[in-house]
Every structure is written in C-alpha cells, then in structure tokens.
C-alpha cells in the first residue's frame, strides 16, 4: 500500500462524513478539505499509530487574488515513521478569514500561524499568543497579499523624528 492509498483509506475510515480531495502531483500528496475539520484531521494524522505525522514543518497561505475563495491555508507535515510528507489545504474566503488554530496539536505551528496572520491576515482561533510576527503591532496591512504594493504604503510605518 503506497502513501496515497494508506492516507485515503485512513481518512475515509475515520471521517466518513468529510469530503477529502486527495491529489498526487509530482509525488507530493495534497489533501484538501473544509477548514472546519482542520483540528480533528490534524490531531488524527498526528496521533494515529500507522501514520504519525508528528512534525509540522510549515504553515502558510496562498493568496489567489481573483478566485472565489481568495485564500488557502497550507500545512506541510512530515511523518518520521513513513519518512514522507503530506500537504493539507483548506480554502478560506475573504468574508470569513478565521481558521481554527492547530498550535495545540503541533506546538511549532504557534509561530508559523503568527507569521501567516502577519503576512496574509488570516485569523487563527484559539491561538495561545496571537500577535504579529515581523511587522509592528499597529501596522494595518498584510504585506504578502497580492494587493499590497512592493514599496509599501507611504507613511504606514513610522520613522523616528529627525532632529534639526
């Protein structure tokens, strides 16, 4: 049984009511599903003795700019037991930017989610320490969104006063 069959079988067995779209592109397995199931699926993939995806390597987002669901949150997770990675994806629409936090499943997701919030403005519910990562706390924009200009918004980041 290869990885795709194993993951498909396991997820279908555990969550029969959830719709999974499991695709294989260039030997990279991606699992797409609705964002409200993220915590359940994440904890299952982590704790299942046959899968053991114990390492969360990255949490990030994609800004598709024109698509109906503008954003997608992406989780890259790694299983030391299977020596393989899978990618979890969930669509997030601009009207409701909140996603449940997986920081209680994988502790590393804490900072990754903060960075995703900082750069894309995606809100993670129940996050233990939800602040910006790089930009100042009072900054109003999200720099990695497609509508943010490369040189920034003039005056949005304060400079110290120059004395004469």
């Amino acid at each position: 049984m290869d990885l795709k069959e194993l993951v498909t079988y396991k997820l279908k067995e555990k969550f029969p009511e959830v719709e999974f779209d499991i695709t294989d592109y260039k030997e990279q397995l991606a699992v797409t599903f609705d964002k409200k199931n993220i915590v359940n699926v994440a904890s299952f993939l982590k704790d299942d003795p046959d899968l053991q995806f114990k390492l969360c390597e990255d949490v990030t987002a994609i800004d598709w700019a024109r698509r109906k669901n503008r954003f997608a949150v992406v989780y890259h997770i790694f299983s030391l037991k299977l020596n393989s990675r899978i990618r979890l994806k969930s669509d997030v629409d601009e009207s409701d930017l909140s996603v449940d936090s997986v920081a209680f499943v994988w502790k590393t997701a804490d900072w990754h989610e903060r960075e995703t919030y900082d750069m894309y403005g995606i809100i993670f519910n129940n996050h233990p320490d939800f602040r910006r990562m790089y930009m100042p706390e009072e900054f109003e924009y999200y720099p990695l969104r497609k509508d943010f200009p490369l040189m920034g918004i003039p005056g949005s980041l304060p400079l110290p006063k120059k004395d004469e």
Partner: protein, 173 residues
Amino acid sequence: MGLEAKLKQDGFFTSTVDALVAWARKSAVWPMPMGISCCAIEMMASGDPRYDIARFGSEVMRFTPRQSDCMIVAGTVTYKMSHVVKKIYDQMPAPKWVIAMGACTSSGGMYRSYPVVQGIDQFMPVDIYLAGCPPRPDNLLNALMQIQEKIGRTKARDFQDRPLPELPVIQNN
C-alpha cells in the same frame, strides 16, 4: 621627530586650543559598532590584526553609546530597527559622527521593498556614506580617515551652546 625638534629650545610651543582639541578628538575616535547585518562582519575584520583599526586610534569599540564618538551603522536598517538605531544615536554624547556603512544603510541597497528604510539619512544625520556590499575593511578605514579629517577641521566653538536633546521617556520598551 616633529615635536622634539620644537622642544629643543625653551620647552614650549604655541598652538591654538581649537587645533589641540581637534587633534585630540580625531586621534581617538571611539566607534559605536551598530552591527545589524553582514557589514558587521567586515567591521569586525577591520578590527583584526591584519587591517588593525588600532593604527587610527579607534580600536576601542564601545558597546555602550555613552562612551563613543562615531556610530558605524553596519547593516540593513528596517523600519522596526530604525527606532532602536535612533535611540542609541540619541544617547551618544555630542559631538558625534555617523558612518553609514554599505549600500543598505546608505540607500536601502538591494532591499528595495516595504520593510527597509531607503537610507538612514531619512531619520538621522550621516557624515560619510560608504559604498560597497559589504565594503572591504580598507574601505571602512578610509571612511574613518575621512571622519578624522572632518573632525580636524572643527573648532571648539562649533559645539558650544548646543542644548541637550530632550529624550522621550518610554516605559516597557
């Protein structure tokens, strides 16, 4: 040598206070190493025995702004870091000088994007802009010699009656 030749006769020589003070100042420029990124590596290299910044009286890198004369801003200054740089600059006692070391510090360099200040002269005065990415240690020593030349031209009264800047008191920062 020069001084002994003058002392041969009566044991004193004439000069101006300005010249003496400027000579003393420029011969011991104590740098404040504001090392923010890779330029700081070259700044450290200029302190090693090969380049030996001690030849110019500047080997005393003070890691406190209150004991230094010349701030070497070595590295990319982001908007978030600019407040720190300015605060440290404000804490240096006058007279003080600033070397903007490298392309990033002088103009933003290759970081032409939203988080990087496009030149630190937007928020503080700069005396020497130093080209290079990063500049070689010789280049830094050249900048230091130019600072010394600049200090040598100053008069003591240039710094008279200069009010101390009012520093804002910020708590928990």
